[in-house]
Subunit: 424 residues, 2 copies
């Protein structure tokens, strides 16, 4: 038996990957999905937009694995070669599916794309017995095709949002039914804010050696996650395996845990405010709209978020937020005093229960000895007019966007902790 | 000749990659380095921490390429198997290098690492005639080894910072001397807005068959790019190869091209306004701060951007932007009439030369027969009080964040076109 026995492989197709123009996030996402389905995923390959090389690698994979997932090369341009190369790998001809061409024309007429669509026609050609994977977010469909007995190929476009939707709506169920054994992996992720990855890891070092469930830490900018994964026959069994570990973690970290799975700090806050029937507004300076857009990116935010004033210039801090020129001159725009006044005035002016104001130096220019790049003031004002003032100094190695993102994170997490201690 | 002829491959080793726990940023970074060195990089593979599978893939690669870069699997734990597997691939024994063990002990005593160092000893074993790549940032050295004539392997740890330092300090020079001919690749990217990828591609189909320079299209949400890549002995020669193609493209697409290389729509607009010594403000409804933050993410935006009003609720459209309740009731917040009034009023109130207002339905809720999800109004008002009104209907399959992102893109690109036709 080959050392691969039978398993799943991922093949990423695109010269831009070999040139290092883009990072292969698709392979990571699909790997994660395959893990959750409990499939044996042994190997990944990447090749460029070259028909001979694509054929060679597909023929190799067909000899050692029973399922191949490809991404990339399904589009309308001449270097989109995937379907053609797969067909050639098994000496098969492509046939046009007229209904797909109708669908593409329909999609184009529904959108603003004033595209001369003739090149899109090649996206309608598939092997005779291939099943189509609809692409609700784009024009290039994928396929599920078993060219030889015991070897199935699923194709996806390289655009991550299209690939993910097609996976979730069509491919996932197919793979689950045909390739998963009776065991699957179930995960439950706890999300942390206000604590670093190494602080989390140090406290629970023993948990990382567990076999079922496993516990693994991940970190993004300003967010730490612990994923608890159980291998089980069904979801109920998995939940029972996960439960004691989850309870242990919740006890250990209590308020550092802000949510689970798909929760985000904005979504958690919107839900909390919605329950409390309270509203919020912002006065943003250094984050320049990022705090507002983090909230308004969530559906349902209009229930609790009324609006905000982005007062980037000092003149607007004066005219829109009534910060006196004297105060601006005496303390500077980046100061506890100005930030506090911004929070008080925006709440009053916009008529909300809560307000958050933020002023700081996002850099890379504009820093000084006294007020270096990375210095940020945050003020939060609530229904009882109690004010919380926060001063942060982010590491000066952080770039502008990181400082803005981390500032928004501190705003949201500080507000979460205030809501927690201010039970209605 | 095999379709790979002789070239370079990257092999990433680590079960965490197959589980989808981490994204393979190393492969992207190394690919970029190889491109810059002008090497033929044909293929990438990823396998887990499994000795048999590592051996199999290394033996395959040794038959089709002449240089292999590996990352991962050099550490002290039992699942770090790379050096051992490479040696086994060519039936060679590993020998300890005593001076490396001295170096590791020295590094440990210098650091805070309270590691039981006995497991680190395996990091000192290498094939007899391998050259060591020092690791200034960690304890695991790599190697440069030619196990069979015409096939060389370079090994690196998986930790990106260690790998990059070792590449820059040792490996890069070695590869340049031994594998690079005197040619390198130089790229120049043209960036498009307001036109789809397939429309761009169809007009210049002939260019995609060029050999030097090559022309390749890429697309993100709302942005299309064409990269022109020349293979040349130096930058000047490359520029001369690229120039005629670039001029042809600029003539063909003229105003659809908004910039080059690191330009973004926000950065281009900030520069344009800065040159004109004009300022801008926004009134945002459906984009909820995203338009403002797209501008303020760029350093230097405070020169031209004064601030904005995010009027998410109708009450704030009335109180902050003086949109009469009558108008809001008659036309609705998502209408040409309200959007136009938002643009006029925000410009006057905030005192800028230009204003952009946007109102729409980002979904997924809030749509109706008359005003479906994806409907967006944009109004742009300039120094001469001329108003441009734009109505867009994005495809309803778009999700909330895509509609917001595309709306911002249309705002910025429409404004760019207005500035182009309004030469000062």
């Amino acid at each position: 038996m080959s050392p691969y026995s039978k398993g799943v492989e991922i093949l990423s197709i695109g010269t831009e990957l070999l040139l290092g123009n883009i990072t292969n996030t698709n392979a990571q996402w699909i790997s994660e999905q395959l893990s959750q389905l409990g499939l044996n995923h042994f190997r990944q390959s990447t090749v460029g937009d070259n028909c001979d090389r694509i054929i060679k690698v597909i023929q190799e994979i067909s000899k050692r694995s029973n399922l191949l997932i490809t991404t990339g090369g399904l589009g309308p341009t001449p270097d989109d070669l995937t379907t053609e190369a797969i067909a050639k790998s098994f000496n098969v001809t492509l046939f046009e599916r007229p209904h797909l061409w109708d669908e593409i024309k329909q999609k184009l007429s529904n959108s603003n794309l004033k595209d001369d669509s003739s090149s899109l026609r090649k996206q309608c050609f598939f092997p005779k017995n291939a099943q189509i994977i609809n692409n609700p977010r784009g024009t290039a469909p994928g396929m599920i095709w078993e060219p030889i007995k015991g070897f199935t190929i699923l194709t996806f476009p390289g655009v991550p949002s299209e690939m993910k939707t097609m996976w979730e709506e069509t491919a996932c169920d197919f793979i689950k039914t045909k390739f998963s054994d009776s065991y699957s992996f179930f995960s439950n992720t706890l999300k942390f804010a206000g604590i670093g990855e190494s602080s989390v890891a140090e406290k629970i070092n023993d948990l990382f050696n567990l076999k079922n469930p496993t516990v693994a830490p991940y970190a993004n900018l300003g967010e730490v996650k612990l994923r608890i994964t159980a291998r089980a026959k069904n979801e109920l069994e998995a939940k029972n395996i996960i439960k004691p570990i989850k309870e242990k973690l919740k006890k250990e970290f209590s308020k550092f845990i802000f949510g689970e799975d798909n929760d985000t700090l904005p979504s958690v806050l919107i839900n909390k405010l919605d329950e409390r029937k309270e509203t919020i507004v912002f006065a943003e300076s250094c984050t320049g709209g990022l705090l507002s857009s983090s909230i308004t990116s969530i559906s349902g935010s209009s229930q609790v978020f009324l609006g905000s004033i982005v007062s980037y210039s000092n003149a607007l801090k004066n005219s829109l937020l009534n910060i006196s020129e004297k105060k601006l001159e005496k303390y500077g725009a980046v100061s506890k005093e100005v930030c506090e006044a911004m929070a008080i005035n925006v709440k009053e002016k916009l008529g909300a229960d809560w307000s958050i104001a933020i002023s700081g130096i996002a850099g890379p220019k504009g820093g000084s000895q006294d007020k270096p790049v990375g210095l940020v003031y945050i003020s939060i004002s609530g229904p009882n007019n109690h004010i919380t003032n926060i001063k942060k100094k982010f590491n000066s190695t952080r770039n502008r966007i990181e400082i803005q993102t981390l500032s928004v994170n501190v705003c949201l997490n500080s507000f979460r902790l205030i809501l927690l201690s201010d039970r209605k």
